[in-house]
Symmetry: C2
Subunit: 157 residues, 2 copies
């Protein structure tokens, strides 16, 4: 798609941070559940993604499948697109805030980047603060080598 | 994004079938696994999506996380983007074919739509044929009502 050489890791980090900080960014949020019989099922929805202090912040209804799964899994896998210029993030859940609990700066930062304010969307919204453990970025098959930019929560130099 | 009225169900079905039949279509493929301790984890990757005879066909390495999870889950949840014009599909696994087993017409159909041929990508590739059970399509919040186009494997008239 891009022609030319695979991007360097440095360039991929620059591009990744730009995607994460973009206005009205969205992520594909993949979560999992286990039923009483031990059977796994997967769930996927697009949600606004906000990037504050090296954390991914999502906002969704407390009763949503996504909020329930992230809470019980303790984490999530996120993808930013398009599909041939992706950023993949494995993250662990660090905090869940109700509207009463959310720090004002976090809520303001969310509204500024996302372009909508969960505080205006009803009492049952939750802010989920997620710490990235692994971040990968690639466009086409020639970029699969070198796709890992962060491992164990630390950017690879 | 689109302005105007929410699309009718009929229009959403037309748009959805066009997305599914598009050349070089990609889907976000969300799967889940359960570890020995009963803990769920989610996985997500973009893969080429092919639509043949009302089935989603994926191709991936037999040893991939995605192939393993779909086989043990018996299904998958797929999203087609962009994130503000989505098609979400819950599907059950109907067949897994190795390169020796795959019907020639299916493999040819895959290569024609995807623009690449898994038969040229190594012996360990698998074709996964998935039957959609539920299909939903929406753009923005105003299209959440009426988003379900297929339920229980049948298109809603």
């Amino acid at each position: 798609m891009t022609g030319g050489q695979p991007r360097t890791r440095e360039q991929r980090k620059v591009d990744t941070l730009a995607k994460l900080a973009a206005s009205a960014a969205d992520a594909w949020v993949a979560t999992a559940a286990v039923d009483a019989g031990g059977h796994a099922s997967s769930y996927l929805v697009p949600l606004s993604l906000v990037w504050i202090d090296e954390r991914v912040v999502l906002a969704t209804e407390a009763s949503s499948v996504t909020a329930g799964n992230i809470t019980s899994q303790g984490g999530v896998r996120l993808g930013l697109g398009p599909t041939r210029d992706v950023v993949m993030i494995d993250a662990e859940l660090e905090h869940v805030y109700s509207l009463d609990e959310v720090p004002a700066g976090l809520a303001r930062g969310y509204a500024a980047q996302a372009g909508w304010d969960p505080r205006e969307s009803g009492e049952s919204m939750r802010f989920l603060v997620l710490r990235p453990l692994r971040i990968q970025a690639w466009r086409e098959a020639d970029e699969l080598p070198g796709r890992t930019l962060m491992r164990g929560g630390a950017w690879i130099p």
